[in-house]
Amino acid sequence: MFLILISITACKKTSYDLADPATAGVWALLNTSSGLPANQIRDIKRDTQNNLWIAFSGNGVGMYRNGGWTYYNTSNSSILSNSVTSLGPTLDGGIIIGTLNGISIRSSSGAWSSYKDPNVTTMVINTIKVASDGSRWLGTEGEGFYVNYGSGYAQIYASAFANVNAIEEDDLGDIFVGTDNGLLEWNGSKFTLYTTSNGLPSNNITSLFSDSKKRLWIGTNGGPTVCWLESSSGYITQLSLLNSDAGSFVRSIYEDKRGHIWFATWFDGLVEYDNVMPITYKKYTGFYEDNVNCIGDDVDGNLWIGLYSKGLAEYTLPLK
């Protein structure tokens, strides 16, 4: 009994700030009623300083940090245009903002610059990727894609691959360019083309994502499945999202802190793949809308879902 009393008094229990389990697995919607400048969300990205950047269609961008918003548009900043289409964080804490006609770059210190190819009429930026070696890749609509290794942007154009919808880097450092007519892989010295003959569900590549399990996820427009490419073997595995007969239009792919893969689709809602089964969130299941544009997450692991017309959905990950 004496020993027991000693052990009790000797035990130290540190008090912690404990999170409430009731806050996990909860959805919340932000829209113009909550103060957002628009309900159409085009892109979501987190920069290397953990600021969350949101592209508002026709209304510039917003930066979310520590629970507060800062908005940048043509009236209060040097952003090129309010018609923002895509975002790409740089390695040094800045953000590249793609618009319907060129890009704006905001550095970590708040300085603005911009770029538009003077040789083209319009430069619609579909996608932006800053690779691990610092090179900057821009995918455009109708003008191919641009690469900047530090000394300026160079255009790579071929008529078959004029529309570039997604650019991603895999775990080996190869760059993948998703176009309307297949998937191009750049290994530093040559391009390799993947099409339906290699196992892709469709040649119209609309989204790419490299996950923590070294899988390059490929989403298409109209393909009956999504698929992933094993970087080491080049093997393509198909996955049915079990939510459509005709095939989905996969706009964006993202991985959450648990390792679950999320697919943002038009018409077929939001799909969560827990590496075993896909689970669909649509209006009939109680979700906000069936058209989802983009997905990102903040430094705490909360998912942010950019909707086509209903605003921004925030999801705190469930406990299991």
């Binding site: 009994m1 052990s7 404990l18 389990p21 399990k213 049915s240 939510n243 075993v276 406990l319």
Partner: protein, 355 residues
Amino acid sequence: MKIKLLFTIVAFSLICFNPAKGQTDTTKRDKYTLLTMPYNKRPLSLYKGQLQVNAGYKLAVRSRSFDNNGDVIDLKTNGNSSVSNYFFLDLKYGLLDFIELDAATNYMHQGIRSESIYYLNSNGITLLNNLNEYKGMGDLLLSASFRLPFDFKFVDFKLTGGIYIPTAEYKTPEPSSTISDYVDSYNYTVNYHFNNKNGFGVPVIKLSADVKFTISKFSGTAGFTFQDPTKEGTNIRWDQTLTNQTFNYSSSSYRYLVDRMMMINASVHFQAAGWFNIWLNGNYSRNSEGWTEYRGIKYANPEKHLFAIEPGFEIQISPSLTLYQVVGYTFSGRNTDAPFYLFTTISYNLFPFLK
């Protein structure tokens, strides 16, 4: 079933009128007298030199639970009811008339199903089943009790201090999920099967205090129990990936703190005959202060409350053998299961060193 069991208990008490035989002055210390001491004259701990072995089985039917607001959730209509089988073994020894040593262990097995989900499309049907299985030994409890150092007449008081030694397995085993009825990538069944163990994984202190009063054939007891972990623990959590109908698993560790438990109980006993005692017990328990880590964030475990009523009886079958049966019905609670349970215990007593 509950009504039938209560009827049995009442029937016993009405039929058996004979007064207790052979229960005389406790100062007469022969083995037979001590072994056949009725409950109302028995102290809270064993007699000096008495060895007691208790073995019991509890069947708990988990068909209801209480939510965060204390409302009842009918698990039967959700198809999520389950059954828990709990076995325990307890060894007690009376070192002195007022000091008792105790060692106890247990085994529990339960499988909890979740809602089955069908995904229908024009290519076929995919079905998802989910089972959470809890199976394994509990930790070894070692304790010592001290009661008032004089013969029990009307009042008795006992203090018990013990510790759960983390002897049982507690680390979560790898899941054993399977794919069945596979036809093609649109037609198959996923059977999630998660495995869990019953050990605490850390030493847990247990303290209790009990008081007993006796007036003629009636006795009343009241008690308080406190249980608290000595430190945080570390366990593992499993992630699974399905590739070509094969599950691959990977694990990551997380920290946790076992809940603190406090319980108060009170009971009224009636010695209907020397060999037959019937009682009604009520207990209220509260589990709180525990937490579990997810993705680097500590989430508090939901606070649990439970209030249950337990009628029961004790029959002395022979000087050495006693049968106990208790029926439990949970009346109210929060964030916890509300099982109906039947607890049967056989107690074997002897004085191995007393001639």
